[in-house]
Symmetry: C2
Subunit: 515 residues, 2 copies
């Protein structure tokens, strides 16, 4: 089985339904409504075009774009042509993009209007394909295919289910960015398990970024059910509400940070959001006051929480709407059908119900491995189980509670930030003697990054100076948003910094104990 | 993925729910209610017991039993022990059982009280295990395991998804009985696609025979959802209704013949059937007056029609309840999610919508092949598609209409009867010159078998004589239920008997044109 099934099914049974509202750079003209028949033809032409450019089966092609119809089309066109898509995080610093292009050995980079100007800042740029709305910049290849690229279905061989659909870069459960290899089988399994939760033929708003796994599932499930896609290029709470009203959106996914911005927007109430049937949130912990506020402000919408990770394609557990009114609202729900989730000790033995341990998972949705990282792959997938690095416990009713990151990770706005990477950057400042980075609860971002820093004797350094210094050198979401200065960091017997002590002392948002 | 996942999930999330009502031969004592925790333990003990008997991974074990808790248990215990189950048709003649035991090279045969006495009539009997309620007959091994057979989960290796779960014997789409090899992957896929249709945690009555694929899906889906199994040992309309009332049954599957017997039973109305939420029927065409009568007699029950075959594990298309009130009621519905169904010409090219052709199908649910029949397997699965042998057409809304059997098959009461097999038997009678067998519509069995026979000059033979003669030599459901005598059979230019002409002339139930 492969994800192209979704597209074929949409054409076979929903050919004249609206597939996608394609915006075309004009705010005065309405978006172009494409049927599944038209969408299907475009995908075949686009795949033929990419092949004509000399991109071969198995080549990696990076996509650096905001949400759009073209992005959706590229997910299918690359899969059809056997090309491995490498979706780039739109919040990355150019240095991250350079790393990823090099690590994936990308044969081409596809950009839109937002990122075309940034290409000049890249140290390393392969062939660049321009998929924006304007004139193609010099030196780039236009993403333009014509009727001549219409090809017979038989031109493309059926992908093997073990073939890669994409490389999805993440900091993952063990340090350093790496490409998660997701196959047709992985994504097919995730979409089946997700459809067991929701099989409706809906109107989906891509409001979370399309490079992120939180949104990716919908690219397959909405297509498979013959539903309709529409796009929010980059997140803005008012624009999100405007599009929900305009297209009568029935389903979307947001991370808690975005949901917070929507329900506390001054424009809330200005738009008709009554079409929203179901609302999935996830990727980072949702504070209870926020979910309660959201449920009371959107009383006809069913909220569901997903817990997962890139390595699981991504869904592992789901908290159903019905369970939001129970004590289980602080849990991550139950394992979705098809996944197997256990809580184990350091020897992978089940711990009793109620006790905490590491969350491990198994299923056809679990990644093939990390791209060119056989050792980390073997470690993370040891014994045939994905070791998530998250600590959790099951209660007696089968609900899974996520307790802590076993590995050292912070998730501001749903992004994975691996603290050693931040600590390396902060420690590089000449005035810093030592540093430890911790996560603190944050109403807006779910979790924020705090650096606890000891300055070198006699050195001067303010909080603002350090934050600005980091922002000039690193992707913004990885930078600390607050700094606490201390004389010395607490250490254990082996000299290791005791982060648990720091979290106790400095882990409150108000920094009451800060020096 | 493998079907044991269902059992593990039932234990993990529904351990204290009722798994099964186990009858134990007493009509005065209530059935034993087993929880999923207890069921799980029994399966592990039973698997260890079968291993202790020397049955090894990959061995075939035939099961010749009526519906029961033990049958359900054996489906899981064999899968856990890596044993290939071979469910035997309970309506077979001993000669069919002999054929199957030999063809599958079965290491053991498991029987219940109903079939233990028939073992003596078998030409070939391997070791026989007795899983009945009484004392174990001499020469048989009791199906009795104890606490000492409780084993650690780690004793059994996890099956590979390409491992066989069972051999399911069928006449199939091309002549002669043969074992359909269904793997963990096949049955796992079918169960996912079926759960997309119905995910409810229900109470399932095994009223269709458990050797048949029409009932098999429920063995996995009901378990996976932590629902409850109960059993009708052999079909009887009143007993069926009594059990529905007694266990508050929510779901079951019946072939049209059985449904007919239920709704036209003199006892209809005597039992409370209001617990029935959903009702699946299939395996042979359902006359419109019958389905309409059933819907009006069971107004709160949702009827669904499935179309499939053993080779597809089995489900291919489904007619939803909503569509029963439309013109599509005479169709077989739409392909279930996960299967791919096409209607093609003799060169496997799609025919236009509205035109008829052979129905072919593809998906992870399609069998691995026929046991020890590589040539037929290659023929039936040519090009990666299952050639069903059924003729059909799609309408513009995606509904599939089954028009005719491309191959020569009759389905009395949902069984596949391949006409050449019946013709060979009839032709063996000394008074028969030539014969052709056709199907005729039958109110009770859906389809009945009629032999059109030319007697040898001067020979005498009555309808009754010929039917009795067949019944002494062949499985009853394969025997003609009516005979039409003619002087000569119509033949085409090549000398081939023109069955289409015979169907026109003698295909009416009333035999108005019979000689």
């Amino acid at each position: 089985m492969n994800v192209l099934y979704c597209l074929r099914r949409a054409k076979q049974f929903h050919g004249s339904s609206i597939a996608s509202y394609r915006e075309h750079g004009s705010t005065t003209q309405p978006a172009q409504a494409l049927t599944w028949n038209e969408f299907y033809d475009r995908v075949y032409r686009a795949a033929a075009y990419l092949r004509d450019l000399g991109i071969r089966k198995g080549d990696r092609v990076a996509v650096w774009m905001l949400n759009s119809h073209e992005y959706l089309e590229l997910y299918y066109a690359t899969a059809l042509a056997g090309i491995v898509i490498v979706p780039l995080n739109t919040r990355w610093h150019e240095s991250d993009v350079d790393f990823t292009l090099k690590d994936s050995d990308a044969a081409a980079l596809i950009v839109d209007d937002r990122f075309a100007p940034s290409v000049a800042n890249l140290a390393l740029a392969p062939r660049v394909i321009y998929a924006g709305q304007g004139a193609c910049p010099g030196g780039m290849i236009p993403y333009s295919y014509s009727e001549s690229h219409q090809v017979n279905q038989d031109t493309f061989e059926e992908p093997d289910e073990q073939d890669l659909v994409g490389l999805f870069y993440t900091s993952g459960t063990t340090g350093g960015p790496k490409g998660v290899m997701l196959t047709h089988r992985n994504l097919w399994s995730n979409l089946l398990y997700s459809m067991l939760v929701n099989l409706r033929k809906g109107v989906w708003l891509h409001s979370a970024p399309m490079f992120h796994l939180a949104d990716l599932t919908s690219i397959y499930t909405i297509t498979a059910s013959g539903g309709t896609h529409c796009f929010l290029p980059t997140f803005d709470p008012e624009e999100c509400m405007r599009l929900i009203e305009r297209y009568r959106v029935t389903d979307t996914v947001l991370v808690p940070t975005m949901l917070n911005m929507v329900i506390h927007s001054p424009s809330f109430g200005k738009y008709d959001l009554s079409s929203l049937i179901a609302f999935l949130y996830g990727a980072s912990p949702m504070p209870t006051p926020l979910i309660n506020a959201a449920m009371s402000k959107l009383p006809t919408t069913q909220f569901r929480q997903g817990y997962g990770m890139t390595e699981a394609s991504p869904l592992l557990t789901l908290l159903e709407f019905e369970d939001h009114s129970s004590d289980a609202v602080t849990s991550a729900g139950k394992p979705v059908f098809g996944t197997e989730v256990r809580v184990v000790d350091d020897f992978d033995r089940d711990v009793p119900v109620g006790q905490s341990g590491e969350i491990i998972a198994r299923g056809a949705n679990i990644m093939k491995g990390y791209w060119k990282r056989p050792e980390i792959t073997a470690e993370v997938l040891r014994g045939g189980w994905l070791h998530t690095g998250d600590m959790g416990r099951f209660d007696q009713n089968g609900f899974l509670y996520i307790l802590d990151r076993k590995k050292d990770m912070i998730k501001p706005g749903g992004e994975n930030v691996y603290t050693p990477e931040v600590e390396s950057m902060v420690a590089a400042h000449p005035a810093v003697l030592e540093v430890a980075v911790i996560g603190v609860a944050d109403e807006k971002w779910g979790e924020a990054i705090r650096a606890v820093v000891a300055r070198r004797p006699g050195a001067e350094l303010s909080e603002t100076e350090l934050i600005v210094w980091c922002r000039e050198r690193m992707t913004h979401f990885k930078c600390p948003s607050s700094v606490v200065f201390v004389d010395t960091l607490p250490k254990g017997g082996t000299g290791k910094i005791q982060k648990a002590v720091l979290r106790d002392q400095y882990g409150q948002p108000d920094r009451s104990t800060s020096a």
